[in-house]
């Protein structure tokens, strides 16, 4: 959960019986990312998490890959405010169970996606190249992402991304985008945490459109198997790689 601490809003994990303090639900901390770091340090018992719809979807991606045991998680559903939905350009804002807040309508559209979709491929590339030139390789987009959980990150392999180079080149962003294509639940944390304010959520949204169109697949459903984890005939791979 999030609560008021030192005049700021802080993520917090408390034990049973501990004072919860002043809970804040207006600042969108990515609690699932935080949960992933501390999960192994909480060896037993249940963990309750304030979950927005995007968090719920992130959890689905994690539990179906066995990174987190679904039975140990208690979801406290948070319906985001209108303002937050607008800020996130969120198309799917209401969790399956609402415990906090009132359900609100999704944001109508992502203006930037629509504008970019109308451009020629050359102009679109020009737009993204200009954006990526601001990248300072902080790895915030991977660090804060709830569904970025490989043990060895492909972006840290020199075959794909040469070390030291800043900005890191188009491949950095393209590899990441395609790597996340069947997992990204469009929480927008990559964009919010990007110091250069590269519209990464828009990039994800545009790729998600392709995924939906080509494979009819949308990440975030606990039951749906990623087309990347199926045989060419569409059957689930037996020896599937948890990282894919």
């Amino acid at each position: 959960m999030m609560r008021e601490e030192h005049g700021n809003v802080a993520p917090a994990l408390i034990s049973k019986g501990e004072d919860v303090g002043e809970v804040r639900v207006d600042i969108p901390y990515q609690l699932i990312t935080i949960l992933e770091t501390i999960y192994s340090w909480v060896p037993k018992g249940k963990i309750a998490v304030i979950t927005r719809r995007c968090d719920e979807k992130a959890l689905a991606e994690l539990t179906k890959r066995n990174y987190i045991d679904e039975k140990r998680i208690v979801k406290i559903g948070l319906a985001c405010s209108k303002e937050q939905i607008a800020k996130c350009r969120c198309s799917d804002p209401v969790p399956s169970m609402v415990d906090i807040g009132e359900p609100n309508e999704p944001a109508p559209k992502d203006d930037l996606s629509e504008r970019l979709a109308k451009l020629s491929p050359e102009e679109r590339l020009k737009f993204w190249v200009k954006q990526f030139r601001k990248c300072n390789k902080c790895f915030a987009c991977t660090h804060n992402c709830p569904v970025c959980f490989c043990d060895d990150c492909v972006l840290e392999e020199r075959t794909f991304v040469p070390e030291q180079s800043i900005p890191p080149g188009l491949s950095f962003h393209m590899i990441r985008s395609y790597h996340m294509i069947d997992k990204c639940i469009e929480c927008g944390e990559c964009e919010r945490s990007c110091p250069a304010e590269i519209p990464l959520l828009t990039l994800r949204k545009m790729l998600a459109m392709d995924m939906k169109e080509v494979y009819g697949y949308v990440p975030g459903d606990p039951k749906a198997v990623s087309p990347l984890n199926t045989t060419l005939e569409g059957e689930t791979l037996e020896d599937e790689c948890d990282e894919c």
Binding site: A10, I38, N136, C138, E156, A196
Partner: protein, 678 residues
């Protein structure tokens, strides 16, 4: 099971980003950005995200050690402290208190620096206390005290967002101050014009509006040239100059000789580009200047800073929102270490040690007689040590064996000391030379405050215990002060130390831990009700009228010669930090920049038959190092660049210890060098 998220301040550059350290059962497991922090805005750079990685590294110093038979041997605190007291007392009695020097630390908190300078002044009886600001912004302190009366950023970090023009020189902002660089990107996205003047291409200059490349060591020439263009084109803010400043005529007289032709010949900057930059800066209402080591680390660094101040004053771009002259300070607490009096000529709050009134004030408060003569600067102390006059040093958290210029001579100086005490967190190159080693606590292991580059006083909150027997520097300083028989070292917490410091430091008078626990306060904050000061010099300068300094271009102390045809300049990269003691123990950072390199222009490389990635020997009059060549067009012809992070090819083996006469800052940014295939 216990999991905590502890809000604290980043230990790297001076931006002062706050973040949460994730602690699970006493282990640091990660970093989470603080979304509501008004400085970082919930964003961090790669160093910030990895700021937990070195803290519990197995190499941490865990026990005090004493050198015996050439080897450092583990001892108890009692034994280590006894040895220090015995040796220091002996040396002081034999050679006098000024035969001892103390180095405070830009890595330590304000409270610790306050105690360390008090230790030197009150317990040892010497003003020989200094720290690495001598190597970075000593010339900012001396230059801006002269021009404005206050040696710090005039404006604040968030104001970069709304600047319409930003002139950046001698600062590779995106690499050295990434989150300030991010603010500049935001301004750029909003349409601001960015001008970068740098001998190298930097990640920011490549996307800037105007990128000017000067020859290293020619900065006063282009700055005076710009001022002349501004005067000639009638772009002077006459009203500001008339009402707020003095000595403009003297400046006019000096800059009249800096014609665009002459400036082009000296600096290599095409005249039309300089004219464009001058017009852009002068005509834009919200125009900010940011500068760093490229300006300060010269043998005429103080004059260079004064020249920058002239430029800001002539256009009146000072004292208002999103304007000003902004030295970007490069360590988490280098601003605070200066504020807290870690300087040989100044008490806390920039009160002069040779001013009888200030001296009387501190004597009364501390209950001791104090020396009235300014002490030795770090660089002068090293020279005195070489000459055999300085006998002992107590160094808190500085790795002089990598960070200081002309390491060959420095090594002799350090080895010539009768007694060297080093308190540090890792077995640094300097620790290897010590007679007594004290294991210290790092930023994550103590409470205290850092003052960031924009004068904001930010809290550190203890997240984990120091390893083994290590102790926070404030505990060490208090213990040492008491053992040396001085009154005034009875503190039970850093908050108590701040209370004393605030009572003696006018800029900090309104600061206490309770207040800054919840809000960002910037000095001057003279009372407990005061909300701090964002913008300096709004109605008048700290010293009254701003003073124009008529400064002339002077060539660097060492110019390229037939034998040493290149100009060597040094600096940082994004992934490493200073002498690498912390970043090189952080796997993700070390992975990105694991080995030393020299950047050389592709035409120069071709001429010398050097290929990218080949090993080369780079030499100056003072030494030689071997490292990889990085062949690039991102540095101008005739200049080479080496980051100073790497002990295995320490750039400072080559650099020149020529000093600015006022600030005694060394000329780390320019020396003559040669390159040959290894």
């Amino acid at each position: 099971m216990s999991v905590k998220h502890v809000l604290t301040t980043c230990p790297y550059c001076g931006t002062g980003c706050n973040f949460f350290l994730q602690v699970a059962d006493g282990r640091l497991v990660g970093v989470v950005p603080c979304k509501t922090d008004e400085i970082s805005l919930g964003r961090l750079c790669i160093k910030g995200y990895n700021a937990h990685a070195f803290v519990q590294h197995p190499d941490r110093l865990k026990h005090p050690m004493i050198r015996e038979g050439g080897q450092l041997k583990q001892v108890t605190w009692e034994q280590a402290m006894d040895r220090i007291v015995k040796e220091v007392t002996r040396i002081r009695e034999k050679f006098g208190p000024d035969s001892i020097a103390v180095l405070a630390s830009a890595k330590c908190t304000n409270e610790e620096n306050y105690l360390i300078q008090k230790l030197a002044r009150a317990a040892l009886g010497t003003n020989n206390v200094d720290h690495c600001a001598r190597l970075c912004h000593a010339s900012t302190v001396s230059g801006l005290l002269y021009s404005f009366g206050s040696g710090a950023m005039t404006n604040t970090i968030p104001e970069f967002d709304n600047a319409e023009c930003i002139l950046i020189t001698g600062s590779n902002t995106l690499e050295a101050h990434p989150m300030i660089g991010a603010r500049m990107l935001r301004a750029l996205d909003k349409g601001a014009k960015i001008i970068v003047v740098d001998p190298r291409e930097t990640p920011l200059s490549r996307i800037s509006h105007l990128s000017l490349h000067q020859r290293p060591g020619t900065d006063i020439s282009w700055i005076n040239g710009m001022i002349k263009i501004i005067i000639d084109e009638g772009l002077v803010n006459e009203e500001f100059v008339k009402q707020r400043t003095t000595a403009f005529d003297e400046l006019k007289e000096v800059v009249k000789d800096y014609t665009a032709e002459k400036v082009e010949a000296t600096t290599g900057i095409p005249r039309e580009k300089l004219v464009e930059a001058a017009r852009l800066y002068a005509k834009t209402e919200k125009a900010m200047i940011a500068y760093a080591m490229g300006i300060t680390q010269h043998s005429n660094g103080t004059n260079l800073v004064k020249a920058m101040a002239n430029l800001a004053m002539v256009t009146g771009h000072i004292g208002k929102e999103s304007t000003g002259l902004n030295p970007l300070r490069g360590q988490c607490n280098v601003q605070g270490a200066c504020d807290a009096g870690g300087l040989p000529n100044l008490f806390p709050g920039y009160q002069r040690v040779d001013d009888p009134e200030s001296k009387a004030k501190f004597e009364k408060a501390w209950g001791v007689q104090l020396p009235g003569n300014p002490g030795l600067t770090l660089t002068c102390a090293m020279k005195e040590a070489t000459a055999g006059k300085l006998k002992a040093m107590i160094i808190f958290g500085e790795n002089v064996m990598i960070s200081d210029p002309d390491l060959g001579h420095l090594e002799e100086a350090i080895e010539g000391l009768e007694f060297l005490v080093v308190a540090d967190i890792f077995p640094s190159e300097t620790v290897q030379k010590a007679h007594v080693v004290l294991p210290a606590g790092c930023y994550a292991e103590k409470d205290g405050t850092f003052t960031s580059t924009d004068r904001a006083i930010r809290l550190l909150r203890k997240a984990v215990d120091p390893p083994g027997e290590a102790r926070a520097d404030w505990v060490i300083a208090c213990d040492l002060g008491k053992r040396l028989g001085s009154p005034g070292f009875d503190f039970s917490s850093p908050a108590e130390v701040m209370a004393e410091m605030a009572s003696l430091t006018p800029q900090y008078a309104g600061i206490d831990f309770d207040r800054i626990d919840k809000q960002v306060l910037r000095w001057p904050c003279p009372t407990k009700e005061h909300q701090g000061t964002r913008i300096l010099h709004t109605q008048k300068f700290t010293k009254g009228l701003g003073v124009f300094a008529p400064v002339q271009h002077a060539p660097p102390m060492e110019e390229p010669s037939e034998e040493y045809p290149f100009i060597l300049t040094t600096g940082r990269n994004l992934f490493q930090y200073h002498t690498g003691t912390m970043t090189r123990r952080s796997p993700k950072l070390e992975r990105e920049a694991p080995e030393p390199y020299v950047e050389i222009n592709s035409s120069d490389a071709k001429r010398l038959g050097i290929n990218d990635g080949e090993r080369v020997a780079v030499s100056s009059k003072r030494g030689s190092i071997t490292l990889k060549a990085r062949v690039t067009d991102r540095i101008i012809l005739g200049s080479i660049f080496i980051p100073f992070h790497y002990a295995e090819a320490a750039a400072n083996r080559l650099t020149n210890a020529a000093l600015d006469p006022i600030a005694t800052i060394p000329e780390l940014k320019v020396c003559a060098a040669k390159v040959a295939k290894a």
